[in-house]
Amino acid sequence: MNIAIEISYLISSIFFIYGIKKLSSPKTARKGNLYSATGMLLAIVVTLLDQNVLTFEWIIIGGVIGSLIGAVLALKIKMTGMPQMVGLLNGFGGGASLLVALSEYYKITYAMPLNTGVAILLSLLIGSVTFTGSLIAFGKLQGIVTGKVVHYPGQHLINVLLFIVVIGVGVYLLMNPANATLVLIIAGVSLVLGVLLVLPIGGADMPVAISLLNSYSGLAAATTGFILENNVLIIAGALVGASGIILTLIMCRGMNRSLMNVVLGGWANAGATDGAGSEGEGPKGDVKSVDAEELAMILEVASNVIIVPGYGMAVAQAQHTVRELMLALEDKDINVRFAIHPVAGRMPGHMNVLLAEANVPYDKLFALEDINNDFANTDVAIVIGANDVVNPAARNNPRSPIYGMPILNVDYAKTVVINKRSLNPGYAGIDNELFYGDNSLMFFGDAKDAIGKLTSEIKNL
């Protein structure tokens, strides 16, 4: 291969690494993304100069169509729809890797060395699982596919069998490289496997699923790098693979669950057995509710307020209204901060992006470990559309399915206000004892309407 092209790929890799490094601060992050994009542009341009690239009409057609679709998606998507967008992009990346692996196979069929064969096999498997898995994740987030935990008899056994089929046929392929039917079987079974692996995962577990698929899309690119013996694909793929794995582990830690437990759709099982106790106990007392006017008066005398947003805020598109509330409170010289649970929303950092969209300064957003000790010194904690991540049962009820999960200690605040549409339990299907606490006030209503009303009451004081 041409030395100049190889060196350009090395420079591309450096751009990717430096770009990710710049993401370590919101101040430099935008520049980092630009560096990373520059690396990509360089890689594309030098590839076009490769001596194996001889016809350009298909490249131009594909490039224009892909760029247009990508640009329209990126500019049209709402910030609340970001998890779907990332899910979809993961899928396209995986799909591209799958197709490149297939295409390479058809080029070299009869002279496939063992290592290339293994790389093609892995690329087909990971690319396919990423492709269909991400499309299902997209469907779940978009509401096309059920967001519930799906169970059917023998699901784990079926998945294991399918995996064994892929590996078995794969080994047979390595011994009979010329048999193209085997390749199609591997791809087909892997595509089915992707659907079956993601289908059982429930909506609130999506942060884990999306992170894991993100990692897969990187690994798929890396395996294509092994097929093409191309270092830039291997490096870029490995970086993304590592990134996805780290986010996956952070999400799992945020729910105090193992990766296995999430992938196998665990919470529903746990709820059916261990959770029986908490369901049987029924409501633990009366809830006190509050209206906007009373709440405004409570807030008027507060000096410290922490707002805890959850998926409900995203569903109600209430981020701008929440910012209005912040401004109204700050006008009364009240210190307002936001506490963000790692698994709030449907993907890592989901709440942060929504609040950034609404112009909430990022230095007002605090991660769980940075703010959890401050609730005891807080006058009012306002929970907006969050449920399981503030359930004290995780701390003090060993029989609860979410026991051991790190939660935001909103119940330590002098007053906790919970904005919710109704008393329905959260995703985990368990009652939230927070609602019945002595210092708890329920503020019923759609987040956008209720918080809007509250804000105008505060302004009228």
């Binding site: 992050a29 990346g93 490149v100």
Partner: protein, 94 residues
């Protein structure tokens, strides 16, 4: 390909994973969504393989697969970088 050059690829892969771990653990939670979409765009590097497939001299089944791969990878690259930029420009200090 001989064993040594294959081992070199594994070397590169393993070291890049370590670099990735080092870099990503330093990224604050507030930027985790842009990190995902941005790294997503990077995984569109498969475009390199797609271009090599779609640009082959003879038109074969490999070219068709390559063409579709170019479309998917370009959606990933263009969509990923643009949406990441759109998000990152919203992050402001007071």
């Amino acid at each position: 390909m001989d064993v040594t050059s294959f081992l070199m690829l594994i070397y590169v892969f393993v070291l890049a994973i370590f670099v990735g771990f080092e870099l990503i653990t330093k990224i604050p939670p507030t930027l985790h969504t842009p990190l995902m979409s941005g790294s997503n765009a990077i995984s569109g590097i498969t475009i390199v393989g797609a271009l090599l497939s779609a640009g082959a001299e003879e038109f074969t089944i490999s070219t068709i697969l390559g063409l579709i791969a170019v479309i998917l990878a370009m959606i990933n690259v263009v969509g990923g970088y643009l949406v990441t930029d759109r998000m990152l420009k919203m992050f402001k200090k007071r």
